[in-house]
Amino acid sequence: MPERRVLFEHRDVPGIETLEVYEKHGGYSALRKALSMTRQQVIDEVKASGVRGRGGAGFPAWIKWNGIPKDESKPHYVLCNADEGEPGTFKDRELMMRLPHQVIEGMVIAGYATLAKVGYIYIRGEYTEPARVMRRAIDEAYRAGYLGKNILGSGVDFDLYIHMGAGSYECGEESAMMSSLMGERGQPRLKFPHAPLPTIAGLWDCPTLINNVETLSCVPAIIRNGGAWYASMGTEKSTGTKIFSVSGHVNRPGNYEVEMGTPLMELLELAGGVKGKLKAVIPGGSSVPILPADKCDVNLDYESLQAAGTMLGSGGFMVLNDTVCIVRFMRRTAAFYAHESCGKCTPCREGTRWMVKIFDRILAGGGRMEDIDLLLDICDQIDGRSYCGLGDAAAWPIRASIKHFRHEYEYFIQHGHSIVEAEGKAVAV
């Protein structure tokens, strides 16, 4: 299967980031159409499309949209999650740099459907290049009457503000993002069912719709062509297209938009093939379990990847060849989570640090065989025991790496050096 470009349809058109060119290519026609529909009709189209959250969780988007109260007793908000921080992912960066108006159009439609008058786009602090593009696009949209009061004479108001982060992976998690936007430390909050969903009590305890950049970017095409059209792509349960950010040991790294259900090996071919011999793939960002080469005969959709023991995640597709030492690679993964743990929940805060200490002992040549089981034990004690998914995400990759590459750990502990070195290869990490 070749690329199937829906979000990226006009990515390569020169000047597509400007309003003029975007409008020439059908830009904002979806907004006009949405404004002529009822709010429930818009939500129903999103439902028919079957689009699922592209930030990593894969939660059906329409349930969030439909879960927003239909009355305006409190102000409603739309929050676009542009705090792209998942290692290996760079799709939102390109969506904002190349197609900022598509994001804005999606947000205004979401605002209309959920009765929100204010939207925020939370962009990570490092992303000043995409943020400047978004800034210019928002200014253009205000001038053209796509944002602000009485949009296109419809009586609908929608203001859109940029809010910049300041360096925290944790803020990509929705409840931490809300804390951060409200001016607090970016720490997560108690979740459903122990607390109301953000759709009921989100920002300032008001109904809030939170969607990823990519999810919102799907909306204009869904409204333009209909939900059924979108659902005709992909598989039955994983509809539409997905952007995969392919990086690592491939010949042509970059963002590739393919239909859901595309075989993994075809995506690798699209990206120019593997440099060297394939060892493993991490299909959905650093948080998802690693997939060894012999298990790579799998389709890229939520269900197939889950059946293969990993996840689609955010689509951060990292390719590792046989020069990568899994033990060192996983030490780097563990160090990342130790650095980014916000410190709120003890299992994650302490567990991630302990894992790094154990890895450092192994790498220093002082590893003991029981360390492997000790790592697994720590994984079990973090997984599911923290407020947000960061703890789980710290445990899954380590656990999967031991499952699939236990022999590498054992070799390192026995010999004090990597099996990759022993094979006479230069170690990539």
Partner: protein, 219 residues
């Protein structure tokens, strides 16, 4: 391989006397900007992150305790609250930094694509270690987590810009270019972030308000 992480490291901060009125250093422009950003949210507390960005720019690229004190004053909250927020986020510098901050990514993709080589080369070339600043105050070298431009790994951020597909030759050329430039990349980054918050009409508003203030002063 990266250095062992230093567990429990916490930026020790000088204390300031909270009973004394703070010494206010925000420029008129900064005050105007903050007032407008506060209006984006239903309460002013939400403007905390932008306020700290403004402070980082106004105080020359980092947040000394005096800056946190001023933010607390302008946000109508306590020093402890501001310090709590400022120390949580990695991009707020708690210590003085050089004019040019080199932030090298060594996360997963970059690590297997030569990120550590770039980092070691810079250490050697600048004669400093990660986290340090050159004695002339020109360069600070930092190791950072994923910058999310993995398609161009290895990647480094300098102020407003990402530099990708780095090689040792590219680093040589870039360092020469940065040495001869005058820009304070850290201040520039903070300013860009502040400007990104402001809508076009707000930016025009600020210019008008500043022009009026300048006229009044002349008169």
């Amino acid at each position: 391989m990266s250095e062992p992480i230093r567990l429990g490291e916490y930026p020790r901060m000088r204390r300031v006397d909270e009973r004394k009125p703070p010494e206010l250093r925000f420029s008129q422009r900064a005050i105007e900007e903050l007032e407008r950003i506060k209006k984006h949210y239903p309460n002013k507390r939400a403007a905390m992150l932008p306020a700290l960005w403004i402070a980082q720019r106004e105080y020359g690229g980092y947040l000394p305790p005096e800056a946190l004190m001023e933010v607390a004053y302008r946000m109508g909250t306590s020093y402890a609250v501001v310090e709590g927020v400022a120390t949580f986020y990695t991009m707020y510098n708690k210590r003085p930094v050089g004019r040019v901050m080199l932030e090298v990514c060594t996360n997963l993709t970059c690590s297997i694509c030569g990120g550590y080589e770039i980092l070691r080369y810079l250490e050697e070339k600048l004669g400093i270690r990660v986290g340090e600043t050159t004695p002339d105050g020109q360069f600070t070298l930092m190791e950072v987590e994923c910058l999310n431009d993995c398609g161009n790994a290895p990647v480094m951020q300098v102020g407003n810009r990402y530099y990708g597909n780095l090689t040792l030759e590219k680093i040589d050329a870039l360092l020469e270019e940065l040495k001869s430039s005058e820009e304070h990349t850290v201040v520039q980054l903070a300013d860009t972030i502040v400007q990104c918050h402001l809508t076009e009409s707000e930016r025009q508003d600020i210019e008008r308000a500043l022009a009026r203030a300048a006229q009044a002063e002349e008169a």
